[in-house]
Symmetry: C2
Subunit: 378 residues, 2 copies
């Protein structure tokens, strides 16, 4: 029954919360046990890394409890080594593992996988959110058939956090890969869901939304983007956001908007291009510092500065795509996540579970559907 | 009649050239005057920056001559200050300027613009290539109606160079914004044109081509991508490239392929996302080094290393999108290019003009159309 320490506070954005949100969040948290359902299998580094990430989160946040899914014999051995997890973890023995190259349509039909078992624990109300490092397509397909879509949602989306120049330190982008298609109405729903996520996850009162395009002029881009531009603009009152119109790729890490809306094909390409570019610059930086004996000395002296930079752009710190538009919260961790990455995904899942995000989003979508009222807290 | 100095050598990739290519290139260069047609207007920084960039290039490369288009009174003043340009530049008095927010369909109809005049000098055979910092859409539209498309090309494309882990230091990506649509056959033509550009611009014997998608598995992505995957694979002999199949956003700066093929919508978003991310990391790096007095000292000591990094990722060094698929070479410089950026675009235009790139590309497309022979020099 302990209040979480500041270190489990979400994304250093708490200061931007409204008083009402802060109270709601603390009310949800104080002493309230949160159980997360974790898929131990399917990540590139195996279950030992997942258990290490869980243990790290558990040591920081006493409110956290876990249900862990996978082959019990293997998991028991790993969990037994971590004293912090004693009495806070339950293991569900599931033999099947969804592989990274398995087709979603096949994977979602197999009843005995750790992935499906992890999702079902949320469906059955035993856990408040699910975390998996596994195959994204399979996780989305299985989540869709087990949890079902929220009423009024056509295509669920995956939202990611992106390091940015904004005060909150991150922007939200969606969809980054749930569905390669999106029509104008889908893009409107992404705007609504993205705004809700930014309010609850980043503590922004009135998130600024941008629609990704190849130019900011109104005549540019595909026909469905022009339609979406109008739909999103008209719904800003109901959606509780400030729509800024079209934005370009350069605005994704910028401070012009907080939420970037796009289809899952474009969003996925942009996400991976951004990650790849940041990694390239980081690697070039390392090489530059290794080039001569003098530069090696300079690197030693610059170590603190470089670590400060690394912390700001470290993709592991923002690990966790959130599936939006389902009756239940699912966080997708990078397949290659290490213990730090897994722990970041768990922190995000905890944050969303403890603020009752899914319920708030459902209420917002329902109210938008009814085109009725405007409740700024959802 | 001087041989260009090594400093005008293209992208430090000369070592990867074949002997035949090297001879061809030197033969084209030695003592041969190259005239470039330059649009002085339309860039964000005005004609003074364009003239400064021209002067910088002229001082490095004695083979370069220029035709400069814009209001003569203004341009004469700027040119008179640069002694290096004496007897090497002709000014064409044109009053009209295409603005950045002008619709391409309007701009291309105006007969009195510096942009159109610059393109016409290539059309009339007075210059071997055109360079402009102006409105991209207007430049492409005007180039299309004045120069016309190469026989056999449906949609021309804009190709850009991207800093990469490959030995040549750069990858080619196309289309980055000529047309927001591209069907499977267009993507095949992009592969052919990109391969030709990589051979002539980067000196690669057998460029490796990748088709941008949201995953590397064959079942992923949109229908037209699956069709293009097959078309590009089947034409690798005629196209003179090594097709590696689907690649992801993270491969754009990577060493898996040399040329990335995609539609102009996705390519433009990826390009701007990559530029924005690199800029964000650079700014964060500067802030990290300014954070404390000690970090400022470290920054001083690390200056050489940081400059080395900056040089590798400096977008000004790779300034210049090349329009492919037209009967004439047009290089689009960034609207915000400074003198260094303009000079880089001029170097690229010189390189392509002096190697007879457009003629080689035309020959390659023709031979592909005839599905006949495979000439590895085009």
């Amino acid at each position: 029954m302990t209040e979480p320490t500041p270190s489990v506070d979400p994304m250093s954005a708490a200061s931007a919360e409204t008083e009402a949100q802060r109270k709601g969040r603390l009310g949800a948290r104080a002493g309230v046990k949160v159980t997360l359902s974790v898929d131990a299998m399917g990540g590139d580094r195996g279950p030992a890394t997942v258990v290490a990430g869980i243990a790290r989160s558990a040591s920081k946040n006493p409110a956290l409890h876990f249900i862990l899914h996978g082959p019990a014999a293997e998991l028991n051995k790993l969990v037994r080594k971590r004293r912090i997890l004693r009495d806070r973890i339950e293991i569900r023995d599931v033999p099947g593992v969804v592989t990274m190259d398995e087709k979603p349509s096949q994977a979602m039909r197999r009843p005995d996988t750790s992935m499906r078992s992890a999702i079902d624990a949320v469906k059955n109300g035993e856990a408040q959110a699910c975390v998996s490092c596994g195959n994204t397509g399979a996780l989305m397909a299985t989540s869709m058939i087990r949890l079902r879509k929220l009423d009024g949602i056509n295509r669920p989306a995956i939202a990611c956090l992106w390091p940015s120049r904004n005060a909150q330190g991150f922007n939200v982008m969606l969809d980054v890969g749930a569905d390669i298609r999106a029509d104008a109405r889908d893009l409107l729903q992404y705007a609504m869901m993205g705004a809700s996520y930014a309010r609850n996850g980043l503590g922004l009162d009135l998130p600024r939304i941008g629609l990704l395009n190849v130019g900011t002029e109104e005549h540019k881009g595909r026909a469905e983007l022009k339609d979406a531009n109008e739909l999103i603009s008209n719904a800003s009152g109901i959606g509780g956001y400030d729509f800024k119109g079209f934005v370009e790729g350069g605005d994704i890490p910028g401070d012009k908007v907080d939420v970037i809306v796009t289809d899952g094909f474009t969003g996925n390409i942009a996400l991976k291009t951004g990650e790849g570019t940041a990694k390239l610059v980081g690697d070039f930086l390392k090489e530059a510092f290794k080039a001569t004996p003098l530069s090696r000395v300079a690197a030693l002296l610059a170590l603190t500065s470089l670590k400060r930079l690394q912390k700001r752009i470290d993709p592991r710190r923002v690990n966790g795509g959130v599936f939006l538009g389902l009756k239940g919260t699912v966080v997708k961790s990078h397949g290659s996540a290490d213990a730090t990455g897994v722990s970041a995904a768990i922190k995000l899942a905890y944050e969303l579970a403890s603020t009752g995000f899914t319920e708030r989003l459902a209420a917002r979508v329902a109210s938008a559907d009814a085109s009725a009222q405007n409740d700024p807290t959802s």
